[in-house]
């Protein structure tokens, strides 16, 4: 589902990733970890074509990233749900509208949008805050809105960048369970995180990034 072959990525002259090769299979749930600044977010950005590789090939859900035309990028991204590290919530829209945005870009009936959004908000336990603006939510609540937005369109691939960075242990657990559920329904999930507690005991593959490459692969 996600396939990197000898991927090298520079920001100007700064090398971030060098000859990176790995695969996340269809329906797999995997983790990506490593110290801050190692390039986890960059790796995820390569998957949804927000950055392009300098060398190597990336194939995501059958799309060859390097051959993508500008006009087809949106269609790739509709298959990829993203929990952004910096949230990217819109503060002039309510929680409901923030989540609904991911569906409005599709030609979907407002009634269906409403149903799906309320459903997913219930799953992240924020249904009662649907009509509140994000700036009035706690960090953890904002995080859950972002997760809801990433999941609401039922993407083929779900990328989560530090999804529990702002959550307490209990909520973290609930969110992790949510990702597992999503995964159980067939979505491929890749979670980038510093926190070992998130993957320990999951029995899932963990890629450890260090010095521009995957230093080792373990099972959590």
């Amino acid at each position: 589902m996600i396939q990197f072959s000898d991927v090298t990525k520079y920001y100007d002259d700064d090398l971030v990733l060098k000859d990176l090769t790995f695969t996340v299979g269809k329906g797999e749930l995997a983790f990506l970890t490593g110290p801050s600044g190692v390039g986890k977010t960059t790796l995820l950005k390569l998957i949804y074509a927000a950055e392009l590789p300098d060398e190597g090939n990336i194939v995501v859900a059958g799309w060859d990233i390097r051959k993508l035309k500008q006009n087809t990028i949106p269609y790739l991204r509709r298959h990829v749900g993203i929990v952004f590290q910096d949230f990217r919530l819109l503060f002039n829209k309510t929680v409901f509208d923030n989540v609904a945005l991911a569906l409005r870009i599709h030609d979907m009936h407002p009634k269906e949008i409403r149903e799906d959004v309320l459903e997913i908000l219930k799953e992240v336990r924020l249904k009662h805050k649907a009509h509140i603006y994000p700036q009035h939510l706690s960090g953890g609540e904002q995080q859950r809105v972002v997760i809801a937005r990433a999941m609401v369109s039922k993407p083929t691939v779900l990328l989560a960048d530090e999804p529990t960075g702002n959550l307490d242990a209990d909520t973290s657990l609930a969110i992790t369970n949510l990702f597992r559920e999503i995964n159980a329904r067939g979505t491929t999930v890749l979670i980038a995180t510093h926190s070992a507690s998130l993957y320990q005991g999951t029995g899932r593959r963990v890629f450890h990034l260090r010095d521009s490459n995957i230093e080792k692969e373990t099972v959590g």
């Binding site: 949804y48 074509a49 927000a50 500008q70 006009n71 990028i73 949106p74 269609y75 790739l76 991204r77 509709r78 990829v80 993203i82 952004f84 990217r88 819109l90 002039n92 945005l101 991911a102 409005r104 870009i105 030609d107 979907m108 009936h109 407002p110 937005r149």
Partner: protein, 294 residues
Amino acid sequence: MRIFLYSLQTALKSIWHEKWINLLTVLSISIGLLILSSFIVITLNMDSVLQRWSKSFGLVAYLDEDLTKEAESTLEELLRQDEDILEVRYISKDRAAQEIQTILGDDARILEDFRENPLPSSFELRLKTELLDPELVRKKAEAIQEMSGIEEVQYGEKWLSSLSTIAQMMKMGTVFLGCAIFTAIIFITYSTIKIFFYRRKDEIETLKLLGATKSFIRLPFLLEGLFIGTTGGLISAFALFGLYSVVLVKIPELLPSVTILILSLPLEAYISVTLAGALMSFTGSFFAVGKIRY
């Protein structure tokens, strides 16, 4: 279709949210269009007045003093055969004297001082309208002057040429003004929509990452531009209608001696004003949104 409705909703929200900037833009556009359309109306009226004047415009060929009746009628026959001449009117010495008398009234007594009627007989000639160009009229006049029995040909050369120069200049001025105002409208909408675009930059970035197509991102801005231009155009069309109605009523009241026939403005004129506003603003907003890259 739903995407269109959503874009429309977004555009309407933005129009309401930024109502003051929008109002300012709309008013600037309508003032620009009103100035332009007033100018066009004046030019059109000038033109129609000129047309009417030049229709009644003619040459006067004065005949030699000692021309016989027969020579006069051969000459008349000759002129009638000329294809460029629409109408030939013979004015005898006596008739000329009568006409002068009606014009001068009491002052006509000066004519009594002459023992003989000093006025020559003449032909008044009306030319085909195609010929009503100062240069062509001059050539025709010269040609007639060459005919035997013609003493002198008079025509309002200065009048004709300065009138047509004025008409030409008015037309050029209108074209120039039109270009200037259209450009101004494009720029005004461009900057307004550009402001909105920058204000929503974060939202646009997020939309791109969520998988929104370019048209999804563009459409609300284009609709907003279209709305601004159409509203501006409509306002100026109504203002033009109001102004025109007042002028139509007031001009004959204030200046009864001016018997200028003012063209009534067709509905198409008002529609054109509105469409012009819409088109220019649409163009402006199109450039404001610019190229979208992922």
